[in-house]
């Protein structure tokens, strides 16, 4: 119902029913009142007619007396006196009745009193007539007088009776008029009220049928989601349970039974039944955390083992939450996950990780020993060669001198190899401290490191503005040294090397094939040279350790430099690419995350 916000259907239904009931109550009270009024009116009419009848009776009694008296006076026969003698009693009886009937009407009582006085006077006049008509006391003049007076009194009585009748009739008429008024108004009113009530009831009916439809729909959805839930519990290897704390009723989902290794609903769960399944080692902990949920209202994940009836051990992870419903009763909701597969996988993974760590450590120490301890004897070989003085060489044979210089060259090459290997292994093993650094400064450091070679080759290095990034500074410096050094080394004969370094911001989504998509922006730094270039088919292999494209006599090198570059870029979660056109130049592209 729109006129009351947030009115749900059960509330609106209630309102409709209350209104309808009130209308019906009102209608029935009106009907009752009408009935009462009708009753009252008929009583009133009866009352009026009764008074009328009694008055007429009174009149007829007096008339009877009059007729009887006349008959007696004329005939002197006592038989005619009988009605006269009875009429007094009749008058008195009617009078008593009238007095009772008019007890609630002061005016009529007064009239009645006057009437009574007149009647008494009339009877006195009767007595006088009888007296003066008696032959013993006959007096014609007085008899005429009294007879005539009786006549007048009689008229007065009739007048008084008519007056009283009139009053009653008027009163009745007035009451009937009021009643008519009320009764003429009420049918329209009650019919409209009735229709309103009917309308409300129809509205309610419509609402009920609508709710019923909705209920049916919800029921269907509930059925679907219940089915989905049961299915997903089976697939996802989890189960749910409810524990109504007030009634101690525990309900398990079907899958809970399955996870425990029994058929659904094969037993009625009580508090202890679950603990029976828990592995004895974990029972105390599980029981304790059950108590804690009630206290803390929710439960962080607990991990424990259960033992199935066939003695199979499964690993469980559980959590729970305490809910309080609208009626204030507390329900504990819980979810159990069977994490046996993950657990076993995890153990295996940990095992493998440990092995990997171990072999990594071994490799590192092997690397260290190989490069470090190999340096010792090599250094001595070189130092001893350097101790062979020119004087010593002068007395040697030519071939001896030749061998000495070849030993020196080989030893030097071995030194470079060892140094490079050491550098390569260090890019992996040393601490990786990320510091916000200005790449232009790092480039300057690299250039000053290479100053001598740059000067010798008359190389020109142009660099655009580069960003400040969180990097491992000495590694980025090494990266710059290696890339620039590479360009300087593989220059075109007779052409001074030109290297231009450009930097721009790019979106990772533009390079989905190799950039980490979780980082949105990368800095793309390109190193373009005018060197001899290389065959683009090697653009992947040149980054592999010890891969060389040229003979070491033409271009001395160890094949480690670019492998180090790749390692450094990988340490920064970036990417490095190489491309080239032979005899035009090479482009190395480094992507570093923002």
């Amino acid at each position: 119902m729109k006129w009351i916000p947030n009115f749900n259907s059960s509330n609106s239904l209630r309102v409709i029913f209350v209104i309808a009931v009130f209308i019906l109550l009102f209608l029935s009270s009106i009907a009752y009142k009408h009935n009462q009024d009708l009753n009252e009116s008929s009583k009133l009419a009866m009352h009026t007619y009764e008074i009328n009848i009694q008055l007429e009776r009174l009149m007829s009694a007096i008339k009877d007396a009059e007729t009887g008296q006349r008959g007696y006076i004329i005939t002197r026969n006592n038989r005619f006196l009988t009605p006269y003698l009875y009429s007094r009693d009749k008058v008195n009886a009617s009078f008593v009745t009238l007095k009772k009937l008019t007890v609630d009407n002061a005016v009529q009582q007064k009239n009645l009193e006057n009437l009574f006085k007149l009647i008494i006077q009339r009877f006195v006049s009767f007595e006088n007539c009888l007296k003066y008509s008696d032959p013993k006391t006959y007096d014609k003049r007085k008899l005429d007088n009294h007879m005539f007076g009786g006549r007048i009194l009689m008229e007065n009585i009739r007048f008084q009776v008519d007056k009283m009748n009139d009053i009653e009739r008027k009163y009745l008429k007035k009451r009937l008029e009021i009643y008519d008024q009320e009764i003429s108004l009420s049918p329209v009113f009650s019919i409209s009220l009735f229709l309103t009530a009917l309308l409300f009831i129809l509205l309610a009916y419509r609402q009920i049928s609508r709710d019923f439809q909705r209920l049916k729909l919800f029921n269907k959805q509930l059925l679907i989601s219940g089915g989905l839930m049961a299915e997903s519990e089976i697939i996802g290897k989890f189960s749910t349970w409810q524990w109504e704390l007030d009634s101690h009723k525990i309900t398990y989902s079907d899958n809970q039974y399955r996870l425990l290794g029994v058929t659904p609903n094969s037993f009625v769960p009580v508090i202890e039944t679950f603990l029976d399944f828990v592995h004895p080692d974990d029972r105390a902990a599980v029981s304790e955390s059950m108590d804690k949920i009630i206290e803390k209202k929710n439960l962080p994940f607990i991990y424990y083992k259960i033992v199935r009836p066939n003695n199979e051990i499964r690993y469980f992870k559980s959590t729970g939450k305490l809910l309080t419903d609208q009626q204030g009763s507390k329900i504990l909701l819980g979810i159990n996950f069977d994490i046996t597969d993950e657990h076993l996988l995890n153990i295996e993974l940990q095992e493998r990780n440990r092995e990997l760590e171990k072999s990594n450590k071994e490799l590192a120490s092997f690397n260290h020993v190989a490069s470090h301890d190999l340096q010792e004897p090599l250094r001595k070989i070189q130092t001893f060669i350097s101790r062979v003085s020119e004087a010593d060489k002068a007395v040697m044979s030519e071939s001896g001198r030749d061998y000495i210089s070849k030993i020196a060259v080989s030893a030097k090459r071995m030194r470079v190899l060892i140094d490079d290997l050491l550098l390569f292994s260090r890019t992996n093993t040393t601490k990786k401290e990320f510091i916000k650094s200005n790449l232009n400064e790092l480039l300057q450091n690299a250039e000053s490191e290479l100053a001598e070679v740059i000067h010798e080759n008359k190389a020109v290095i142009k660099a655009s503005k580069m960003p400040k990034l969180e990097v491992i500074p000495y590694q980025i410096e090494q990266l710059f040294i290696n890339l620039i050094g590479n360009s300087l080394k593989y220059n075109k004969a007779g052409v001074p090397p030109e290297i231009s370094i450009e930097s721009e911001k790019v979106l990772s989504s533009d390079y989905p094939e190799f950039l980490e998509q979780s980082v949105k922006k990368f800095h793309k730094i390109t190193f373009t040279d005018n060197g001899m270039g290389f065959d683009p088919q090697f653009k992947e292999t040149i980054f592999i350790l010890f891969q060389r494209l040229h003979s070491k006599t033409d271009y001395p090198g160890t094949g480690i430099g670019l492998a180090i570059c790749k390692k450094i870029v990988e340490n920064h979660k970036g990417h490095i690419l190489a491309d080239s056109t032979p005899n035009v130049g090479s482009v190395f592209t480094v992507f570093l995350p923002e």
Binding site: H372, Q375, E376, L378, R379, K380, Q382, T383, S386, R387, A411, R415, R426, T430, K431, Y474
Partner: protein, 149 residues
């Protein structure tokens, strides 16, 4: 040149290195008195013996048996009597870790053993003639590792 001969002590277990060192000092013609110890234990015994004059400069190899150069360095820097000796680390290793550790522990300079005798001479000359007071006050991570110009 100093009037009094400089007292130099080299702690190194490698016989060849001691020989190169001795030869180099002989050739650079600075008045020095060079002494040798063969391992860390011997070094500490020598330094702690009050009979022995304390060296002006101690060349300390890191990789030594019985007691490593780093252990000796820590002990020396803890001792009030010894902590002012100028210590030049003299090692084959040039690993960041070793350089960082010895810098933090208070060594004065780090020398990577050269593979050329002439370079060795230059290095020794440099170390012996440097104004240590000046060098120490301006010591930082960048100039800690000796680089010949």
């Amino acid at each position: 040149m100093q009037k009094n001969a400089l007292n130099i002590l080299l702690a190194d277990d490698d016989e060849d290195d001691r020989l190169f060192f001795k030869d180099a000092f002989e050739e650079i013609k600075i008045q020095t008195k060079v002494q040798f110890v063969h391992d860390g234990m011997q070094l500490m015994d020598h330094l702690l013996d009050p009979e022995n004059k304390l060296p002006d400069i101690l060349f300390l190899d890191l990789n030594m048996p019985k007691k490593t150069g780093k252990e000796c360095l820590i002990e020396i820097k803890k001792s009030d009597r010894l902590k002012n000796i100028i210590i030049a680390i003299y090692s084959t290793s040039s690993s960041e870790e070793d350089i960082e550790d010895t810098f933090v522990q208070g060594a004065n300079i780090y020398i990577k053993k050269p593979s050329d005798f002439n370079t060795l001479k230059k290095i020794i000359n440099e170390v012996v003639t440097v104004n240590w007071h000046y060098h120490t006050s301006g010591l930082n991570r960048d100039n800690f590792l000796l680089r010949l110009k």
